[in-house]
Amino acid sequence: MEKFIRQQGLVAPLDRANVDTDLIIPKQFLKSIKRTGFGPNLFDELRYLDEGYIGQDVSKRPLNTEFVLNQPRYAGASVLLARRNFGCGSSREHAPWALTDFGFRVVIAPSFADIFYNNSFKNGLLLITLDEDTVERLFNEAQGVEGYRLDVDLAVQTVNTPSGEAIAFEVDSFRKHCLMEGLDDIGLTLKDQDAIDSFEARHRTERPWLFRDGQPV
C-alpha cells in the first residue's frame, strides 16, 4: 500500500449527500478482475452523458461539462470535499480503487458509511470526518476561490487552509500507523498467529459444530 504522510492538493467539491458506491463506480465496471484501471470510470454516470461499458475508450465519450470533475479549474484535484454519508451502499472496494486511481488521496465529509470507511484506509485513501459547519465553510471557500488547495498533514492530524487555519481531525491510531507506514494488515495479523491458533483450538473444543474438517464439505 502506498504510504500517506502529507498531501497538499487541489480541492474538488462534490456537493451532494448520500453519494453511494454505485454512483462512485457503477456495477458494469466491477467485472474487472484487477485492482487498477477504474479511474476513467469514477462517477461514470455523473461524468459522461452516455452509458459506459467496460473496456471502452473514454476519450470519445460526451462529457457532462457541468459535473465538478469535468471543470478545468478542478483538473488534477487530489482532495475530494463531500457531503454526509459518503460511500453508502455496497461493500465494493472498487469504490476506493476508483477514487485513488483517479488521483484522490483524501476525502473530507461530515460522515462516511462504515464499510467504505474501512475499505478506503486499506488502499491509502485518507478519509477525514469534520463537522457539518466546517465542511460547509470549506465548500464555500473551495467553490469561491479558484485553485483552492488544502494541506493535509496526517502526522499531526490537521487540515491546513490557505489562510493558515489548522483544523484538527480524529483518526484511529491503528489506521494512522498503517497509512503512514504503508503496512499490509495481513502481515501484521499473522504476527499474532499463536493467539489465533490457541483461540481456534479452544473454539473448536467448545463449539465443534462450527468446524467441518474431515467431513466432505
Binding site: R16, A17, N18, D20, D22, L23, P26, K27, Q28, L30, K31, S32, I33, K34, R35, E45, E51, I54, G55, R83, R84, N85, C88, G89, S90, S91, R92, E93, P96, S111, A113, D114, I115, N118, N119, K122, N123, D172, S173, F174, H177, D185, I186, T189, L190, D192, A195, I196, F199, E200, H203, R207, P208, W209, L210, F211, R212, D213, Q215, V217
Partner: protein
C-alpha cells in the same frame, strides 16, 4: 457477569485479541465468496505466496453475473455471452479449484445468491461470525450470527488469517411492538424502519430487531429485515434465537450432526440479549402503524406508504435533504404531491437476496394467481434466489401460476437487482422491484427503481401501476407465524 446484548455476546465469543489501540482481532467462522469481490483477493494471496487458513470455513457460489435465461444458462460458464462476466465466473471457478475451496458451481442445484444459499444449507448458524465481500451479508444476522459485509482486502485477510481487524460497534435496538396487519410483510417493516431512522441512522451500530412483531415473523421474513440493515447504515442486523430459528435449522445439510445437535441448541438458546441489557439507542415502532411501503426516490429512506404522495422539497427544512429530494424527483421523473398509486410501471422484478425465497414467491403467486400482467408492462420477471428455491417453487406449481399470468420464470441469480447481467432497465423506465437499492442507475442506466414487497410487486404487475395489495386481493397474513 454484567448484562449483555446479543451483539456483546457474539463479540466476546470471537475475540481473539484486544489491542491497545482499540482494534480487535475477531475470529471468522464462515466466509462466503462470490465472483465479483474475490478475484483480487485470490490474486493477492497468490502474489504473497499465502494459503487459506482454514478451508472448511469457506463456501463459494457465482451469483452476481450469472445469466438467468434458461438458454444462456444451459451451457454453463462457456455459455455466458458477455465476455467480462464469463471471465469473472471462470476466475472464481479456477480459484476455487486451485485453492481447494468448496463451490456450488453455476449449474449446481444448490447454486444461488450467497445470502439465500448460506442459510438454506445451514451453513449459517447461530453464534457464528459470517462474512462475505458483499454488504447484504447482514442477512445472516437473522440467525443470531454476527454477520457483515467486507471489502476485497478483508476477503483476502480472512482467507489468509481467519480473522478480521474490527472495532466494536455500538448497540441499537429497533423494537417493533404489536402485530402486523394483513398484507403487511417483513419488507414493509424494514422499509418503514429505514424511513424512520434514515440511511445513515444505523451507521456505527449493530442493530438488533426485536419486539412481538419480529418474534411473529418467519426466518425468511427476518432475513429480509436483517438484509436491509445496511440500507439503514448498519453493517450488522440481528435477531435473537427462538424456536423459529432452531426449527428452521433442523436437518439442513451443513447444520450440526445428530450427535452435536443438542449441545448446539443449548448453546444457541443463550443467544438473545439479556432482559436488562443496555442499548446505546432504542427506536420503537408500532406494527399496527406500518402499511405497505413504496420508495419514490433514489435512496431507500425516500419511502412512503401506498396511500402516500411524493413529498414537496419546499416543505423540507434541512437544505441538504431538500436538494436531495429535488435531485431524486428529477431523476425519477416524478413531481411533488403526485400520488404513489398514479406511478405507472414499465417492468416488475421479483427476486434478489431480500425477497427471492420460497415464502416470497408464494406471496407473489397468491396475488398473481388467475390474473394477468397488465398489457402496458414491458416485462415482469420472477427470479428465484437459488436452484433449490426454484425446485421447491416448481414442485408447488408456482411457476405455472407466474407463467400463466405472463411473468417470466428465470434461473437463479442476482439478476436485475444490480443488472450486472443482461437483465436491466432501460433509461427512464419505472420498475417495481423487491430488491434493496433504488440508487440511480442501480437496475440499469437511467432506470427508476421503486422498492416494494413481493405481494405489492405482483399486484403492481397486474395493475400496471402501484395499488394497495390489501384492496387488490384478499390475501392471508404473509410470512408470519410460519415455523
Amino acid at each position: 457477569m454484567a448484562s449483555q446484548t446479543l451483539y456483546d455476546k457474539l463479540w466476546d465469543q470471537h475475540l481473539v485479541k484486544q489491542r491497545e489501540d482499540g482494534t480487535a482481532l475477531i475470529y471468522i467462522d464462515r466466509h462466503l465468496l462470490h465472483e465479483v469481490t474475490s478475484p483480487q483477493a485470490f490474486e493477492g494471496l497468490r502474489l504473497a505466496g499465502r494459503k487459506p487458513w482454514r478451508l472448511d470455513a469457506n463456501l463459494a457460489t457465482p451469483d452476481h453475473n450469472v445469466p438467468t435465461s434458461f438458454k444462456e444458462r444451459a451451457a454453463g460458464i462457456a455459455g455466458i455471452a458477455d465476455e467480462t462476466s464469463r471471465i469473472q465466473v471462470q476466475t472464481l471457478d479456477d480459484n476455487c479449484n486451485s485453492f481447494n475451496i468448496e463451490q456450488f458451481t453455476i449449474n449446481d442445484a444448490r447454486q444461488g445468491i450467497v445470502h439465500v444459499v448460506g442459510p438454506e444449507q445451514g451453513a449459517t448458524l447461530p453464534g457464528m461470525t459470517v462474512v462475505c465481500g458483499d454488504s447484504h451479508t447482514a442477512t445472516h444476522g437473522a440467525f443470531a450470527a454476527l454477520a457483515h459485509g467486507i471489502g476485497t482486502s478483508e476477503v483476502e485477510h480472512v482467507l489468509a488469517t481467519q480473522c478480521l481487524i474490527q472495532r466494536k460497534m455500538k448497540n441499537m435496538l429497533v423494537r417493533v411492538d404489536g402485530r402486523l396487519g394483513t398484507g403487511v410483510t417483513a419488507k414493509d417493516v424494514v422499509l418503514a424502519i429505514i424511513g424512520e431512522i434514515g440511511t445513515a441512522g444505523g451507521t456505527g451500530y449493530a442493530i438488533e430487531f426485536g419486539g412481538s412483531a419480529i418474534s411473529d415473523i418467519s426466518m425468511e421474513g427476518r432475513m429480509t429485515i436483517c438484509n436491509m440493515a445496511i440500507e439503514a447504515g448498519a453493517r450488522v442486523g440481528l435477531v435473537g434465537v427462538d424456536d423459529i430459528t432452531i426449527n428452521y435449522l433442523r436437518d439442513r445439510p451443513y447444520a450440526p450432526t445428530t450427535a452435536q445437535w443438542d449441545a448446539a441448541v443449548a448453546d444457541w438458546r443463550e443467544l438473545t440479549s439479556d432482559a436488562d441489557a443496555a442499548f446505546d439507542k432504542v427506536v420503537v415502532l408500532k406494527a399496527e402503524d406500518i402499511e405497505p411501503q413504496v420508495t419514490w426516490g433514489t435512496s431507500p429512506e425516500q419511502v412512503t406508504n401506498i396511500h402516500g404522495v411524493v413529498p414537496d422539497p419546499a416543505a423540507v427544512s434541512d437544505e441538504t435533504e431538500a436538494r436531495g429530494i429535488v435531485r431524486a424527483l428529477e431523476y425519477m421523473g416524478l413531481s411533488a404531491h403526485q400520488k404513489i398509486t398514479d406511478i405507472k410501471l414499465d417492468r416488475v422484478f421479483i427476486g434478489s437476496c431480500t425477497n427471492s425465497r420460497i415464502e416470497d414467491l408464494r406471496e407473489a403467486a397468491r396475488v398473481a394467481e388467475g390474473r394477468t400482467v397488465a398489457a402496458s408492462l414491458k416485462q415482469a420477471m420472477v427470479v428465484p434466489g437459488s436452484g433449490l428455491v426454484k425446485a421447491q417453487a416448481e414442485a408447488e406449481g408456482l411457476h405455472e401460476i407466474f407463467l400463466a399470468a405472463g411473468f417470466e420464470w428465470r434461473e437463479p441469480g442476482c439478476s436485475m437487482c444490480l443488472a450486472m447481467n443482461a437483465d436491466k432497465l432501460g433509461a427512464g423506465e419505472h420498475c417495481a422491484s423487491t430488491s434493496n437499492r433504488n440508487f440511480e442507475g442501480r437496475q440499469g442506466f437511467g432506470g427508476r427503481t421503486h422498492l416494494v414487497s413481493p405481494a405489492m410487486a405482483a399486484a403492481a404487475a397486474i395493475a400496471g401501476h402501484f395499488v394497495d395489495v390489501r384492496d387488490f386481493a384478499p390475501i392471508p397474513t404473509s410470512n408470519t407465524n410460519a415455523a
